[in-house]
């Protein structure tokens, strides 16, 4: 069965690109428009991996990572954060919150797939 990956991003174009890339790679994708939406969807459906932006309205990426790790189903799933180069401190904050790894924006579809393969095995 195909693994399900959630992409949480308030930017529709990034969401679209991530979804498109992952679907081509044979994964199922759940989209969430911000941290709050993501957390709500995470508690409803089983997700094998989470890719989240850090800057989002309602609930930001750090809050989402912390919230997700508190859910039993998401305690051990890989969580990848999308950061920009100016957010090195955020990277550390994300790691402390329980993120598995990161991708630096801008990235190419191949880079995204490489990271997904790396953490999902």
């Amino acid at each position: 069965m195909a693994k399900t990956i959630m992409t949480a991003d308030d930017s529709a174009s990034v969401r679209q690109m991530v979804t498109f890339t992952l679907k081509q790679g044979g994964y199922d994708v759940v989209e969430a428009v911000d941290g709050k939406d993501a957390l709500q969807k995470l508690s409803q459906c089983k997700v094998d991996m989470l890719i989240t932006d850090l800057n989002m309205p309602n609930l930001d990426g750090i809050g989402l990572i912390k919230g997700a790790r508190a859910l039993p189903a998401c305690k051990f799933i890989p969580i990848i954060m999308l950061t920009t180069e100016s957010q090195d401190s955020k990277k550390a904050e994300g790691k402390a919150a329980g993120a598995t790894g990161w991708i630096v924006k801008p990235f190419k579809p191949e880079q995204l797939m490489a990271v997904v393969k790396k953490v999902l095995g």
């Binding site: 308030d10 930017s11 529709a12 174009s13 990034v14 679209q16 690109m17 498109f20 932006d53 800057n55 989002m56 309205p57 790790r69 305690k75 051990f76 799933i77 890989p78 969580i79 999308l82 920009t84 180069e85 100016s86 790691k95 329980g98 993120a99 598995t100 790894g101 990161w102 630096v104 924006k105 801008p106 990235f107 190419k108 191949e110 880079q111 790396k118 953490v119 999902l120 095995g121």
Partner: protein, 694 residues
């Protein structure tokens, strides 16, 4: 990046800009509203981040400046002033102008003016401009082969970061020959153990030519969550410089697991050093084992280097391999007997032996079958020649492309596949691809393409023949089938069913016989040949666009996985690759369907064949029977049996010449207890029942 994504970004950016304008105007009235400030920041951030993703580099660079200023505002380092709002509004208009221009000309001077204004307000160094997309890592230099020792000690809480250490070890394995030793000495007692923590650490001895950075890359995400040491222990490129193999003691000293004095003290006793080290209790057994593995690894890599030139393959007559596979088949049968006997005796010692034998047998089976595997590529090159010659003969311009030539299949399967594939390709060339003039008129390139590909899928190989020709004409097939009396004029058939009619005996849509296809050998023969290999064939097509024929072939013919079932006292096997699921059938179900042999499975009707009746087995069926549901040619058909026993490794034995023409049975096998089970030929059974029903 595709235009779709660029377009999506533009739409999104316009929306964000509209929102930004509103936020800025509100901000002018309420300059202290933190929520508004972060909304402005976020809009800028998204435009910058997404813009750079989709190649709007100018916009990203420009927006970065504005974002930086608002980051300062957000952190309370800068107050919202009228000048700032004015500048930001101007910046917003500038971004819009840049979006409108879409890569074309815009007023670059305006950009610099705004940036200069912003910098005046909030001086900052501009070192952090968005870096261009980092190019995918430079091609790996073919550097020297080096053996590394990697000790990877993750923090206990590693699982909480969503990290699976096994994935990391798997990635290391991809870099080259690799030995992994897990150290379990850190395990606490069961009461103290927290299953959510990682108590293991690993030594990995890896030989790779990818360089140390490739290894570091594997651990990039866990750098801060583990202790990682990577040491170079041997370089292998220079064989003339052969050093002596390192002794275990030397390796332990190098790693700092033991001191020189300790070693010398032990050495004086003149026993094997590894044993001594363990006995003394200075080094735990796993560390010594790990050092031994390293020694062995380096030895092996060196030996391999030396023998590589000598011999990479030997030639063995094919019949010797066949004999080997037959013997393995016998062994599998005997092993099944051993396992079932051991299970009956409930003797722990015997069970342990049986399990060991089972493991070895399955390993032996796999490697024996592997020996007969050949890449299908040799056949592919034959087809290329065929296509070249035939297209000249037909006056067509056709190119053949192939994919997956290194896919491996059993030798006998490859041989038997040759004729059906030749026929299918001929068919594509003759009926599928049109003449160059016709193609040009239809707006297609003059050159037709036939694409042949092979790919692994579970325990089978999928071969597809894809052409970009005229495709199948469902209506023409229908008319022909009615004319030939294959279907009745009133029959309602789906497109898929219509396409499948071309495999029916005596069907040919070619307008006249040509020397290429239609030599009296119909597609039905192709289908039979494929089914004889326990494969399946499927066709899809879009009229005018082309056709795609998919052939699914099991990897090997000698041994299959099957489902063992029982009817009365007789055993039967159904190939597991065809089985979908098993459901129960009660007497009530039977009476409710009024003898129509239809079962309701999750609101879908599935026709079934009661095998007890079909094989005329006497006796009463049990109260609850089982339906084994299979999928044949895209249709689900059930087979009713008394009991489902379970999966079984089946060594196929032919029934001998006398029984060659029996319908519905493709072979037999010997079970663990010596009983014979017949292997059902499911497609044939379904066909014969269908033809009786007509």
């Amino acid at each position: 990046m595709t235009d779709v994504h660029r377009q999506a970004f533009r739409e999104e950016a316009y929306e964000l800009l509209a929102e930004l304008e509103n936020s800025l105007l509100e901000l002018e009235e309420r300059p202290d509203d933190l929520d508004l400030i972060s909304r402005v920041f976020r809009a800028m951030h998204t435009i910058k981040g997404s813009g750079s993703m989709f190649g709007f580099d100018e916009i990203a660079r420009f927006t970065h400046e504005v974002e930086t200023v608002f980051d300062m505002v957000r952190n309370g380092k800068l107050a919202v002033t009228k000048t700032l709002v004015n500048l930001t509004l101007a910046a917003r208009d500038q971004i819009k102008a840049m979006l409108d221009a879409d890569g074309g000309d815009f007023d670059a001077g305006q950009s610099s003016q705004i940036i200069a204004g912003l910098r005046e307000l909030a001086p900052h160094d501009d070192a952090a401009a968005p870096a261009p997309v980092a190019e995918a890592s430079a091609p790996v230099e073919a550097s020297e082969t080096v053996t590394y020792r990697i000790r990877f000690t993750p923090v206990r809480e590693i699982f909480g970061f969503g990290v699976n250490p096994l994935n990391l070890l798997g990635e290391l394995r991809e870099l080259g020959p690799c030995n992994v030793i897990a150290h379990t000495t850190g395990f606490p007692t069961l009461e103290e153990m927290d299953p959510e923590q990682c108590y293991v650490y690993w030594d990995v001895i890896l030989t790779t030519d990818q360089g140390i950075n490739a290894i570091k890359d594997v651990f990039i995400f866990v750098e801060d969550d583990c202790t990682l040491t990577i040491d170079e222990i041997a370089v292998h490129d220079d064989l003339d410089h052969e050093e002596h193999h390192k002794k275990v003691g030397e390796i332990l000293i190098e790693r700092g697991d033991i001191t020189m004095d300790e070693m010398n003290g032990l050495l004086s006793k003149q026993k094997r050093f590894g044993e001594l080290a363990v006995e003394s209790g200075i080094v735990p057994p796993t560390k010594v084992a790990s050092a031994l593995v390293e020694q062995q690894h380096v030895k092996e890599v060196r030996q391999e280097k030396q023998t590589q030139e000598a011999a990479t393959s030997i030639r063995v007559p094919a019949d010797r391999l066949d004999l080997l596979v037959n013997l393995v088949g016998e062994l599998v049968t005997v092993q099944a007997r051993l396992s079932s006997t051991a299970a009956e005796r409930s003797d722990a010692e015997l069970s342990a032996i049986a399990e060991e034998v089972e493991r070895l047998t399955s390993e032996l089976r796999d490697s024996a079958l592997n020996i007969r595997m050949l890449p299908i590529g040799s056949t592919f090159s034959k087809f290329k020649r065929l296509v070249r010659d035939l297209s000249a003969e037909l006056g067509k311009e056709i190119e053949m492309t192939t994919d997956g030539a290194d896919t491996e299949l059993d030798k006998t399967v490859i041989e038997k596949l040759n004729d059906p594939l030749v026929h299918l390709i001929r068919n594509s060339l003759d009926h599928g691809i049109e003449l160059p003039e016709v193609r040009v008129a239809a707006g297609k390139p003059r050159h037709g393409t036939v694409h042949l590909s092979a790919v692994h899928s579970g325990d089978s190989v999928l071969l597809t023949i894809n052409d970009d020709g005229a495709g199948l004409d469902a209506e023409a097939i229908r008319a022909k089938a009615i004319e030939k009396g294959i279907i009745s004029p009133t029959a309602e058939l789906s497109e898929k069913e219509l396409f499948n009619l071309i495999f029916a005996p005596g069907f040919s849509t070619a307008k006249k016989l040509s020397s290429v296809s239609g030599r009296g050998v119909g597609m039905d023969v192709v289908k039979k040949a494929i089914e004889a290999l326990r494969g399946a064939i499927d066709i899809t097509s879009v009229k005018g666009k082309g056709a795609k024929i998919t052939v699914r072939i099991p990897l090997t013919l000698a041994i299959i996985e099957s489902l063992l079932v029982k009817i009365g006292t007789d055993y039967f096997m159904l190939p597991l690759s065809l089985v979908d699921e098993c459901v129960e059938l009660t007497r009530d179900d039977v009476s409710r369907s009024h003898g129509r042999n239809l079962a309701n499975v999750r609101e879908h009707l599935v026709p079934y064949i009661p095998l007890r009746q079909r094989f005329q087995i006497t006796g009463e069926p049990p109260e609850i029977e089982q339906i084994v549901i299979t999928e044949v040619d895209g249709m689900r058909v059930g087979f009713v049996v008394d009991h489902v026993i379970g999966e079984h490794q089946t060594v196929i034995k032919s029934l001998g010449r006398a029984y060659k023409n029996i319908e519905g049975i493709s072979g037999a096998t010997i079970l663990g207890d010596g009983n014979v089970a017949l292997i059902l030929d499911i497609p044939q059974l379904v066909q014969s029942v269908e033809s009786e029903a007509l």
